[in-house]
C-alpha cells in the first residue's frame, strides 16, 4: 500500500525516533509512506475562532498539495496533533463551501482545494492492515511487557474526528496485543496531559504527569505508549520535575508505540531508544527483549 505522508515539524526535529520507527514498521507491513514533495506546519492546533480563516491556511494548503500533487486522496500523519488539525480543518471547509471559496481565492498560487482528501492517523492505517498480518511479522513478542496505552485528547476529540470510540478507544491495545504485549487500562487514558500549559503553567502539568504515571504504576504498568510528541514531552520530560518534587516517585519510560512495534518486529536498530529522556533499555534488557 502506498499512502501520502505528512511528517509535521516535530517528527523532523525532536521526535525523529517516531518517524524512523514508524516508517520501518510500515515497510515491514508493506506500507510505503510517500512524503509530500512540499509541506508546511499543520497549523499546530486547530483554530476555533470561526472568523479567523488565516489560521486555516496552513492545514488547508497541505491538503491542497496532497490533492494536486499526489496520486492518492488520503494523507497520513503519525503525530496526533497534526492529524487532529488537518482533520478538523478538512471538516470545516467541506461543511462550509463559502469559507473554502475564500481560502482558495486567497491561496491563488495553489490549485483550488476541492475537499477531496481524507486525513488519517497512522493507527487507522495500521488498523487497515489488520492484526492478523501484524502477528505474522512478529519476531520477538513483547511477552510479559505491560503496556499502558495513552491516547490523550487529539486522537479522540472532538467526536467527529475521533479515530475510534471516543470514550473507550482500543485500536492501540489491539495492535500491541498482536505484538505479544500485555495491556493495562487506566482511567486517564483519554485525559489531557496538560498540553501547552507546560509553558505557562508548568506546575499543573507536573501534577497531571504525576497522576497519570502513578496511576499507570499502581495498575502494574511498565511503559506508557503514545503517539503525540507534546504528550510525550509532558509525560516523559516532566517526570524529572515530578521526581524532584516528590521523593519516592519512580520514573516510567514513555515511548511512541511504533518504537515497541519495531522492537517486536526485529527492527530494534530503528527503535531509537537512545533518544528517550527516560532510558527504556534497562527495563527491556531485564525482560529479555534487548541484549545488554
Amino acid at each position: 500500500m502506498k499512502i501520502p505522508y505528512f511528517p509535521g515539524c516535530t517528527l523532523k526535529a525532536t521526535a525523529k525516533s517516531f518517524e524512523v520507527s514508524g516508517i520501518a514498521v510500515g515497510k515491514e507491513l508493506g506500507i510505503e509512506f510517500v512524503e509530500m514533495p512540499r509541506w508546511n506546519c499543520c497549523g499546530t492546533v486547530y483554530s476555533l475562532a470561526t472568523d479567523d480563516l488565516m489560521h486555516q491556511l496552513a492545514p488547508v494548503r497541505n491538503l491542497a498539495v496532497v490533492e494536486s500533487d499526489m496520486e492518492e486522496n488520503r494523507v497520513v500523519s503519525f503525530c496526533s496533533m497534526c492529524y487532529n488539525t488537518l482533520r478538523q480543518a478538512n471538516n470545516l471547509v467541506i461543511n462550509d463551501p463559502e469559507k473554502l471559496k475564500t481560502i482558495n481565492e486567497f491561496m491563488d498560487t495553489e490549485k483550488d482545494y476541492r475537499g477531496g482528501v481524507e486525513p488519517l492517523h497512522l493507527l487507522q492505517v495500521l488498523g487497515e492492515v489488520g492484526t492478523k498480518e501484524m502477528e505474522k511479522r512478529v519476531k520477538k513478542p513483547l511477552t510479559g511487557l505491560k503496556l499502558v496505552p495513552y491516547y490523550g485528547c487529539t486522537l479522540v476529540r472532538p467526536e467527529d474526528v475521533s479515530i475510534d470510540d471516543p470514550r473507550d478507544p482500543s485500536i492501540m491495545e489491539e495492535i500491541m496485543k498482536a505484538m505479544g504485549a500485555d495491556i493495562i487500562d487506566i482511567e486517564y487514558k483519554t485525559e489531557c496531559c496538560g498540553s501547552y500549559q507546560t509553558i505557562t503553567n508548568r506546575d499543573a502539568v507536573v501534577e497531571r504527569t504525576r497522576k497519570i504515571i502513578e496511576s499507570a504504576r499502581e495498575a502494574g504498568g511498565d511503559v506508557i505508549i503514545l503517539s503525540c510528541p507534546l504528550c510525550d514531552f509532558n509525560l516523559e520530560d516532566r517526570q524529572r520535575e515530578v521526581r524532584e518534587k516528590y521523593h519516592g516517585f519512580i520514573e516510567m519510560p514513555v515511548l511512541y508505540f511504533t518504537q515497541l512495534m519495531a522492537l517486536a518486529m526485529g527492527l530494534e536498530d530503528k527503535a531509537g531508544f537512545e533518544g528517550n529522556q527516560i532510558d527504556p533499555r534497562p527495563l527491556l534488557e531485564e525482560r529479555g527483549l534487548l541484549e545488554g
Binding site: 515539524c9 526535529a13 509541506w39 508546511n40 506546519c41 488565516m54 491556511l57 496552513a58 498560487t109
Partner: protein, 236 residues
C-alpha cells in the same frame, strides 16, 4: 526599434502622471521623470537587492513587487520606490553558536508566527520558495533553508509584505552561515588549492599578468581557454 523609440507611455509616480519612453526599466523611467536615486539603487544589474520596488498595474487589484532595475515600466503603472526596508537583524557570534540546536527559533522566535499564507513567496523577485524555507527554519533544517534561500539578494520585499513580521532573509543568512561553518564538509580541492597558492605555485603566472599592458591583458583575457564543466561536477 525606430517605432519604439517614438512610443511614449504614462506612468504615475507617487500619484503624479509622467510621460516616459516605452522600454525603460522602472528605475530608468523614474530617472527620466526627474527623480534622482541617492539610496535605493545599487548595481543596476539585479544582483545587489538595493532597489526593491512596489507597484500596481492599471486596472489590477494585485499589489506587485519587483527590482526597479529589472522590471520594465508599462503604460498605466503606479510606481513608488522603497528607499529601505527596516529589518530585525540579531547580533551573534557565529563561533559561539551550538549548531545542533535550532538557534533560528531562538534568535528569531517570530518565525513560529508563520501561518503559511505564502505572501513572502509571491513577493520574491528572485522567485524563491520563501515560505518553505521559513517552514524549514521552524524545524531547524539548516540544509534545506540554505538550499532554498541560496539565491536571495536580501532586497527585503518578503519582510515588507509578511503579516507575521518575519525578517526572512536574516533568518536565512544565519542558517546559511551555520550550515556553511558547521555542517558542510570542507572541500578537499579548495584546501589543496590554498596550499598551492601558499607554496607559490601561481606566483610566476600572476607576475607575468602584472607586467602586461592593457592591450596585452585584454588579448590574454579574450583568448583564454575556459574549462568546460558539467553541472554539479566539482573541478579538481
Amino acid at each position: 526599434m525606430s517605432e519604439n523609440k517614438e512610443k511614449m507611455i504614462t506612468v504615475y509616480i507617487m500619484g503624479k502622471a509622467y510621460e516616459v519612453p516605452f522600454g525603460l526599466t522602472i528605475m530608468k523611467a523614474m530617472e527620466y521623470a526627474g527623480y534622482r536615486f541617492i539610496r535605493g539603487s545599487g548595481c543596476r544589474a539585479g544582483f545587489c537587492g538595493a532597489c526593491a520596488t512596489v507597484y500596481r498595474n492599471k486596472g489590477e487589484y494585485k499589489f506587485q513587487t519587483a527590482l526597479a532595475c529589472q522590471a520594465t515600466a508599462e503604460d498605466g503603472m503606479y510606481l513608488a520606490q522603497l528607499p529601505f526596508v527596516p529589518a530585525n537583524r540579531k547580533e551573534y557570534d557565529i563561533a559561539m553558536i551550538n549548531p545542533e540546536k535550532n538557534v533560528l527559533s531562538e534568535y528569531y522566535p517570530e518565525i513560529n508566527r508563520c501561518v503559511s499564507c505564502n505572501t513572502c513567496t509571491k513577493s520574491c523577485p528572485q522567485e524563491l520558495d520563501v515560505m518553505y524555507y521559513i517552514q524549514a527554519a521552524i524545524r531547524g533544517d539548516y540544509g534545506e533553508v540554505s538550499k532554498l534561500s541560496f539565491d536571495c539578494i536580501q532586497c527585503g520585499l518578503c519582510a515588507a509584505r509578511c503579516p507575521a513580521e518575519i525578517t526572512h532573509y536574516h533568518v536565512a543568512q544565519l542558517a546559511r552561515r551555520i550550515y556553511g561553518k558547521y555542517h558542510l564538509q570542507i572541500p578537499e580541492h579548495l584546501l589543496k588549492r590554498i596550499e598551492d597558492i601558499d607554496a607559490g605555485k601561481f606566483d610566476n603566472e600572476i607576475g607575468k599578468l602584472k607586467k602586461m599592458g592593457m592591450k596585452e591583458l585584454k588579448e590574454e583575457y579574450t583568448s583564454r581557454t575556459i574549462e568546460k564543466i558539467q553541472r554539479g561536477e566539482v573541478t579538481q
